[in-house]
Amino acid sequence: MTASSHAPAVHRDDFAAKLGMWLFLVTEMVLFGGLFLAYSYMRSQYPGDFHRAGTELNATLGVTNTVVLLTSSLTVALSIVAVQRGERRRALAFLGTTLGLGVVFLTIKSIEWAAKFHHGLYPGAAHLATLPHGEQVFFGLYFTMTGLHGLHVIAGLGVLAYMFRKVARGEIGPERPLLLENAGLYWHLVDVIWIFLLPLFYLAA
């Protein structure tokens, strides 16, 4: 930025911006924490039903999506390193990979959801109403928690697409990487939440 005597002084406080982002992230942790709490209680009430309902889920798709999301987290972290080093094209390639992997995650998720709908396993379905109470609770929690998580993935993709544009225009660079770093924090948190969802629903139910 060229220094001009007429340019207004731009206030900038990177630490405050990062602290603000973390304060937002801890509210997200508490939001999902409440749902994890609900899951734990219901599971302790209906262990058998949760086990039977859990076998309905496709663990292969769940594990595949885990690797997809872990890799997308890696490429965000790498894009930040690239931006800090002034390697803009490489940063864009990494960010583009993250966006692509996010879309892959949502595609796999929608295939899974479609299969559940096809089998009548969704809240309000006539077939689900005939199953034991615990299984109905399981699928209620499954759709609530993976649905809320999916909304976060969609929001994260929107934010990262915006960051892609800013990096491409040079508005995020070695001197000002913070916006991208904060966007990356959000994406990583979405990854952490999925890390817990995988065993809860697919592996240890």
Binding site: V26, V192, L203, A204
Partner: protein, 100 residues
């Protein structure tokens, strides 16, 4: 003050490079494999995987991907207080369930 509260302002730390993140990612994938393997050995083994392996994976993401390793005590404290609060909620809930 013995330790700077705001590590990122007055005491910038060296940023981790590509290799660090690749190693962390490899560890996360291996731990996912361990989790899947443990779930093959029955219900209780799967639950132990959930209780032991999953927090390690989350810690790796928080500590390296989210840069907490390189932050000062204030940001670390914010996260720890939140996780501690959640842990208290879980303890209260399970103690209530156990004595009902």
């Amino acid at each position: 003050m013995s330790e700077p509260l705001l590590a990122s302002e007055d005491h910038p730390v060296a940023h981790p490079g590509y290799a660090t993140f690749l190693k962390v990612w490899a560890a996360l994938v291996v731990l996912t494999g361990v989790l899947v393997l443990m779930s093959r050995f029955g219900q209780s083994s799967a639950v132990w995987g959930l209780l032991l392996v999953t927090p390690v994976k989350a810690w790796l993401v928080f500590y390296f991907f989210m840069h907490l390793k390189y932050e000062g005590p204030l940001l670390k404290g914010v996260v720890l207080i939140t996780l501690g609060t959640l842990l208290i909620f879980f303890a209260l809930m399970f103690s209530d369930v156990a004595f009902r």
